[in-house]
């Protein structure tokens, strides 16, 4: 009987060994959690035979640290850093140049979103999606008309019900804007002032969440706070009362771009994938499913009217008054931010 059991185990092991065999070409994509529909990956595989391994991170810092850590071992073929991290990684020589000749669909991109100062001439990055960080309000609990500014988060009746993203730069952006400073400041005094302002808010904060900022609202834990516009769109499917508001002090604007790490093993497949993602119909599908805005003009034209007309995903010009693009602040200022950030989060 025992022998039988052993044989069974052995057979099981062999079976499993068979399952883990991988002989197809593989593309290692390192991306934000829930930032690409599965069907896109499936379709890419069906067309090219390349299997995309999609692993996720929840902050630019984590992505950057891991890429640095595994730099020499060529683990990742593609990553999707936000605006200011493209700049940082490019300056540090972490990226491989993009070969424009392999991207037949590059011209679909919005001219106003390419050739930005974070990466002149898009030598190292190709825009994937852009979005805004603004205010979220659960309309059943809080009157959306009464929340128009970041500063409203400091209201006393919100104690214990505020949600902030778990993103240092974004949270400081809010503090800095409320005080009238730029969200990209490198001035230590302004950063400290923002810290002091934010320290008053922290007791009200129920949770910091950057994996899925909509979830604390859906769970019923928080009623007001920060959210990314795409998360708001996704959240509205389960909770129609979730409202997205562009704060008067200005929303935070960011652009996430594909980059190829310098030691990527499968550079050709990476280009193929980027070009695939630049197709109008794929860009439209992504924007519809994920709820963020596509920088792809041809793709945007294909969108259903209710998606394209949704101000949450596609802000009007007046929504973006005072809005600021996130920029790199340099390692020196970053350490100052980091220090105050740790103090903020440890405060209770």
């Amino acid at each position: 009987m025992k022998k039988m059991a052993l044989v069974g185990v052995a057979a099981l092991s062999l079976g499993l060994a068979g399952c883990s065999k991988q002989d197809q070409p593989v593309l290692n994509l390192y991306n934000w959690s829930e930032y690409m529909p599965q069907e896109v990956l499936d379709q890419f595989r069906a067309e090219t035979g390349i299997r995309v391994i999609y692993t996720t991170y929840d902050s630019n810092e984590a992505m950057y640290a891991r890429l640095r850590l595994l730099d020499s071992s060529s683990h990742y073929d593609l990553a999707v850093p936000s605006t200011y991290y493209v700049n940082k990684m490019r300056n540090e020589g972490l990226l491989a140049p993009i070969d424009r000749s392999q991207l037949s669909n590059f011209d679909n991109l919005d001219p106003s979103l390419i050739n930005l100062n974070i990466d002149p001439d898009n030598a190292y990055s190709v825009p994937y999606l852009w979005g805004t960080t603004g205010l979220a309000v659960v309309a059943d609990r809080v009157d959306p008309a009464e929340v128009t500014r970041w500063e409203d988060l400091w209201r006393e009746d919100f104690v214990g019900r505020v949600m902030m993203t778990n993103d240092m730069r974004e949270v400081f952006h809010v503090g800095l804007r409320v005080l009238g400073y730029s969200g990209n400041t490198r001035n230590p005094d302004e950063i400290e002032a923002a810290y002091r302002k934010l320290a008053e808010l922290v007791p009200s904060v129920r949770t910091f969440n950057s994996d899925a900022p909509r979830m604390p609202y859906l769970e019923g834990e928080t009623h007001v706070g920060m959210i990314w516009n795409g998360e708001a769109v996704m959240g509205q499917e389960d909770m129609p009362s979730l409202t997205y508001i562009y704060p008067e002090e200005g929303a935070i604007v960011w652009l996430d771009s594909f980059v190829i790490p310098r030691n990527a093993r499968n550079v050709e497949a990476a280009h193929k994938f980027i070009d695939f993602m630049l197709r109008p119909e794929i860009a439209a599908l992504v924007s519809t499913e994920i709820g963020y805005a596509t920088p792809n003009v041809a793709g945007k034209a294909l969108l259903e009217d209710d998606v394209r007309g949704d101000r949450t995903s596609y802000p009007t010009e007046e929504d973006l008054v005072n809005a600021e693009f996130q920029e790199d602040v340099g390692d020196e200022a970053l350490q100052i931010y980091l220090r105050y950030w740790e103090m903020l989060k440890a405060g209770r």
Binding site: A65, R206, E219
Partner: protein
């Protein structure tokens, strides 16, 4: 004789294997961590000279002292709760008919097979403001506003107790199994009442199990960063979160290593206490 000739190589091979394993995968890595903790952070290459004690000084920063103390506190509460629940549980378990014991032990282990992360998530579904506990209590009319359960210290402690309870029960069960029933009866026969029997016979005899259980709960409780992440809402940090953030987000390896060394020292302290208590116990028994 052949046997003798075989014996030596067999013994040597086994010892060599296990020693190499432990040296290469336990001792060397830990030496590396201690070494790392004495170096300086480098934004690009992670580590650089010179040697410094600055990382340990930073641990003395009120900010981290606070995190460490809070983490100690949550781990301590978790341990006490596990002991309070686990001790009578192990006792009762040892008293169950032998045939059922194996099955019951298995039932204790089965939840582990659904990865602890999945179970932490299940707890989150229970505790959320719109979750089962709150909506249940609300529909029963016990409360009209949802209780604040999720993203609190309490939630983290509930999660830790839930995940670590079996680690308290198993060593306790082992000592209760060994505990000779006769001994208790003898004490009874000699006229000792129930409480004295418990205090003077059962407690000392099960103490090794208690200490083993405490060690297996208390130390991991400070490291389970995912429980704090999922249930604490990034507000109730454990030492594990600090270490993980330094290694995997902030890229400050020396500082993360120093925090890890601190945790190792805490362990060494507890292990010494464990040895000491065993020795005393041994002397009393003799």
């Amino acid at each position: 004789m052949f046997g003798q000739a075989f014996r030596q190589p067999f013994k040597n091979a086994v010892l060599l294997l296990v020693w190499v394993w432990l040296l290469a995968l336990v001792l060397v890595p830990n030496v590396l961590v201690v070494g790392t903790s004495l170096l300086t952070r480098d934004p690009v290459d992670f580590l650089t000279l010179p040697f410094t004690l600055e990382n340990y000084q930073r641990l003395m920063d009120p900010l981290y002292v606070q995190v460490f103390l809070h983490s100690l506190y949550m781990a301590a509460v978790t341990t006490v709760l596990c002991l309070l629940i686990g001790y009578p549980f192990a006792w009762a378990l040892a008293g169950v008919d032998k045939r059922w014991q194996t099955l019951l032990i298995f039932l204790l282990i089965v939840p582990f097979w659904t990865n602890s992360l999945v179970r932490t998530y299940a707890i989150k579904m229970l505790l959320a403001g719109n979750g089962l506990i709150n909506s249940g209590l609300q529909s029963l009319g016990v409360i009209d506003q949802p209780l604040e359960l999720l993203y609190t210290e309490t939630a983290v402690i509930i999660g830790l107790v839930y995940l670590l309870l079996p680690f308290m029960i198993l060593p306790l069960y082992a000592v209760f199994e060994d505990l000779k029933k006769e001994l208790v009866m003898a004490s009874h026969d000699l006229g000792a009442g129930r409480l004295p029997t418990f205090l003077h016979v059962i407690v000392p005899l099960t103490l090794p199990g208690v200490i083993a259980g405490v060690l297996l709960v208390f130390l991991p409780a400070m490291g389970m960063f995912y429980v704090a992440d999922v249930l604490g809402g990034a507000r109730n940090l454990l030492v594990g979160n600090v270490i993980k953030n330094q290694f995997l987000d902030a890229r400050d390896w020396p500082f993360g290593a120093a925090a890890s060394v601190l945790l190792t020292l805490a362990m060494a302290f507890l292990l010494l206490a464990h040895r000491f208590s065993r020795r005393r116990l041994g002397e009393e028994g003799a």
